[in-house]
Amino acid sequence: MMQGILLSNDIDVMVHGLFKYNFLGHEAWITTTHVCLLLVMLILIGFSIAAGQVIKKGAEVPGTFQNIVELIVEKLDGIVEGSMGKSAVKYRNYISTIFIFILVSNISGLLGLRPPTADYGVTFPLGVLTFILIHYNQIKYQKPKDIWTSMCSPLPPWLPLWLPINIISELAVPVSLSLRLFANVLSGTIMMTLVYGILKWIALIWPAALHVYFDLFSGVIQTYVFCMLTMTFVSGAIGDEA
């Protein structure tokens, strides 16, 4: 019987388990995502050590690498400062960290890895971190009465009919944040796998143009959007008092 190309083994976009172990009585797997994540982390750690060495020496007239490092830090600080204002000092470390991590993860498809962000188990914790940051800041900087009023928002505070809907919309924030990143990266990965799987005899040089769109452009935009939305939500939770 003829089998469709999706059912054959040429097209392979799934996460694979590599190594099984027991964790507190549960069956757990080391998957391809872990391996790719480890490689991304190695790249980042190597870059960080090199950058730290260069900055520690700190030449008066910066060389090429020192210039690149300073440029990255300046640009990231500029992004955080532009959208968080006064509270940027506290958050630029966190935002820059997740920015660089998500960026390198997204464009690691260019290195032949399966991007770690194309696994929902990687993007959902990032969304949960944003969720925790939002509500930590809300509790820290706003009065309980104001939070209650905003949770009952279209109706007056003594009539909490709208409360469940507002709670659901708060819970939807991390889910939609992480699903957006996940689905974008996953769709890019699937498109590239389909191109290489179906057109493997003529996929010679022109897929590079598709890589520029699906890996570079889409990855950079989604990284930017994730960090932008995180900053918007967190500075909204901090309010005007800080």
Binding site: L179, L186, I221, T232
Partner: protein
């Protein structure tokens, strides 16, 4: 592979095709956002970078609903939940 599995796979493919019709909405929405951003740049060329930032963020948020449809299609085609 017996008849039942083939039937379910075919229905999954039809369902995946129907699910990505959700892409129409974000397409229209992103087009409207880009058009208004172009008009805004025409009126105030100095604010180009701010307008671009706002446009990209808004478009990415508008894209989410389409991505949910895409996700359903991907699940139907690759994970095949109806065959379990």
């Amino acid at each position: 592979m017996n008849f039942d599995e083939n039937f379910i796979l075919g229905c999954s493919a039809i369902g995946a095709g129907l699910a990505v019709i959700a892409g129409i909405g974000p397409g229209v929405g992103q087009g409207i956002a880009a058009g208004h951003a172009a008009a805004a740049v025409g009126r105030n060329p100095g604010a180009k970078s701010d307008i671009t930032t706002t446009m990209i963020t808004g478009q990415a948020v508008a894209e989410t609903t389409g991505l949910y449809g895409l996700l359903v299609a991907i699940l139907l085609l690759f994970v095949k939940p109806l065959l379990w």
